[in-house]
Amino acid sequence: MTNNIDYSNYSFEDLLSARAGLDADLYPERAVELDKLIAQKAPKIESADSTVQSAVLRQVQVKFHGKTSEFFGIWIVNILLSIVTLGIYSAWATVRTHRYFYSNTEIDGHCFSYLANPVQILKGRIIAVVAFAIYSIAAAFSPILMLFFIVAFIFLTPMMIILAVRFKMRMTAYRNIRFGFNGKYGDAFVVFVLLPIVSVFTLYTALPWVFKKIDEFLHNNMTYGQQKFTTELRSSQYYIASIGALVLALIIGALSLFALGASFSAFEAQSTLGSSFSLLTVGIMFGYLVIFLIASSFYQAYVRNHLFNSMQISNVASFTSSVSAARLIWLHLSNLIVLVVTLGLALPWIHIRTSIFYANATNISVLAGITDVVEGVQDDTSAIGEEIANVFDVDIALG
């Protein structure tokens, strides 16, 4: 390789970033030339103390440009291609779907990029399917063997969560800088396995605190380039969110039981077919779902606001979230109704409107240090963890 680049027109900052991004083993001559130029152009004044928090450059709202009309085509065509290729294309479909949502999310004039390679995802998916098949067969053939798997699963869950979050973060880039995740297995085991078990002995009164520890673990270990995310979460906020959700669920539950009781007796009076019994079962199942949606939406809105408002990337950005609980509840309820009525065909619309909803409720303060961020350490990340976590329904919610 001899095609040398003319760096003479680069500013000092451009040179620094070009040097940081250069693979010196591949291009030794370029590296030498860059180092020489950097030495020449180095400013005379010492740079400001890096511990000082940078000033706010701009306050911007997150913008989402996705359209249902565009995404519907992507969605339905990708499902068909996935089916007719016996699932192989689904890895490519996943990448296209993620890219559509990332590329349409804009902050301060720059879009996100989704960088995963479909082949990585396909490999992860194959391993996940094999693991799932082995688990299911074992579970079907022998309840005793299943017990063994469940124990193994408990110990593997923290690992899968770490791998999945790391993959997700590593595949996300903004301004050509990747995000990252440095969570350690020991900490993950404590927050995802140990603390939830311990909270049982406190009759779940410690659970909101455990939720806080989980969010802390997930978000304090995230990085943007070499910059770290920090949060200052307060347990009191998690208790308010949890108790609020519980009270909401109890009130609605009691009200709907009352209404159900009234309509049931009305039913009994006129029903001769005895069909009310199974209608009642369906009604109760649906009612559970609705109550769960309402309570969890309240919790989600409250915790997301607290989390975002207390989170920042040092010198790069701080966040503001203003999700209205009532509007989130309405969003989720209407999503459910539309999904059932359209037999799932409204899924693209639901995804788009949910993204718009969250974008509108999120503001970012861009700090002056953003242009100084440099790429973090490179490592290879595989999609295995994420895929296994997906198939086994390990849900990781990131704000």
């Binding site: 027109n9 065509v77 890219r99 079907a140 053939f141 019994f277 242009t371 100084d372 329904d393 849900d395």
Partner: protein, 338 residues
């Protein structure tokens, strides 16, 4: 000249640049019209075309270019349309219309034909040792949870067993394969079920329900044998394995809301399938009874007795239950007499 954002590799800096495409290479110019890079076109790594999203072009070791799509830039970047066939399909009305037709059709064929067929083939090749292991473990688990030891006297059990042996010898079946055992169960009530290794369990409550009538017991035991002969347990297991695999595989990256939705549809599909198996077992029993000259009316009688133990059923129930409606099964048994 085309405007673009240039992100030099390794930092979050962004430069507004102009791209000047030549026949062989592209020149990247900064705001002062000074040349930053000259790159051969062959070195550009554009991400596949996707809707109207920003086009992203990786420049290995140099950085990333990002710009709003224009037809002219698209034609420069993506020399052949064929390589962007996914984009073309996603944007053509025909592609979308065909997908809208074929997706439901494919899902229907997969769940209605392919999975049950695959489950049947799979069930046939499962070795006996695995089936036996599964059965003994399942029985052990049930004994520890829902089943209690039978309270029938030994002589009662003996009479039933010897009659059972007699029935088996009348049928062209392997006598050593089937064993009958007795349990008491408060949670299952009057019930009989077969494990795939040929072990058939009847509850005390069931014996009481049919007032120890051998002819009635015969009918229901034949139904259970039908399950075993047709590998129903294995088919059910592989069916549920295959369908949850398909659903998780194609729809796993959707949110929890859809999870609940998918869960309900799996149950519905699953129940339809196990209903089919019940019909198969019923018809097996009726056929065997006719062959060995037994009165198929007995089958209808047992079902009628069972029907009295459960609350009235409606047509909606048939969607939510693993067994077909009892009154339909009774009608089927009566129809078999003629």
């Amino acid at each position: 000249m085309h405007e673009a954002m240039f992100y030099p590799a390794g930092s979050a800096r962004c430069l507004l640049v102009q791209l000047d495409f030549g026949a062989e290479d592209v020149r990247v110019l900064n705001a002062n019209n000074e040349v930053l890079h000259i790159l051969p076109l062959s070195q550009l790594r554009p991400a596949p075309k996707l809707a109207a999203t920003c086009r992203e072009v990786m420049l290995p070791n140099v950085g990333l270019l990002s710009f709003k799509p224009t037809p002219e830039l698209d034609s420069l970047l993506y020399s052949s349309d064929k390589s962007q066939w996914a984009h073309m399909l996603e944007n053509s009305y025909q592609g979308i219309a065909i997908s809208l037709l074929l997706v439901p059709l494919c899902l229907f064929i997969i769940f209605k034909y392919i999975i049950p067929h695959a489950a049947e083939r799979f069930a046939e090749v499962v070795p006996y040792s695995a089936i036996n292991l599964a059965s003994t473990h399942t029985l052990k688990a049930l004994d520890n949870s829902m089943l209690q030891p039978s309270e029938l006297t030994l002589s009662e059990q003996q009479t039933i067993l010897s009659n059972w042996q007699l029935t088996l010898s009348q049928l062209a079946l392997d006598r050593s394969y089937y064993t009958l055992i007795f349990r008491k169960s408060d949670s299952l009530g009057a019930n009989a079920f077969a494990l795939p290794n040929g072990t058939i369990v009847v509850t005390d409550q069931f014996i009481k329900l049919i007032e120890s009538r051998q002819d009635l017991l015969q009918a229901i035991l034949l139904h259970e044998i039908g399950h075993v002969e047709h590998h129903h347990s294995m088919r059910l297991i592989s069916q549920s394995l295959f369908s949850s695999l398909v659903i998780d595989y194609f729809f796993a990256d959707v949110s929890g809301l859809i999870d609940a939705f998918a869960g309900i549809s799996t149950t519905l599909v699953q129940n339809q399938f196990s209903s089919e198996l019940e019909w198969e077992a019923d018809n097996f029993a009726l056929k065997q009874m006719k062959i060995s000259g037994l009165d198929t009316e007995n089958f209808a009688l047992v079902l009628e007795k069972l029907m009295k133990t459960i609350p009235e059923e409606s047509n909606i129930d048939s969607w939510l239950q693993t067994h077909p409606l009892l009154r339909k099964r009774i009608a089927n048994a009566r129809a078999a007499q003629h």
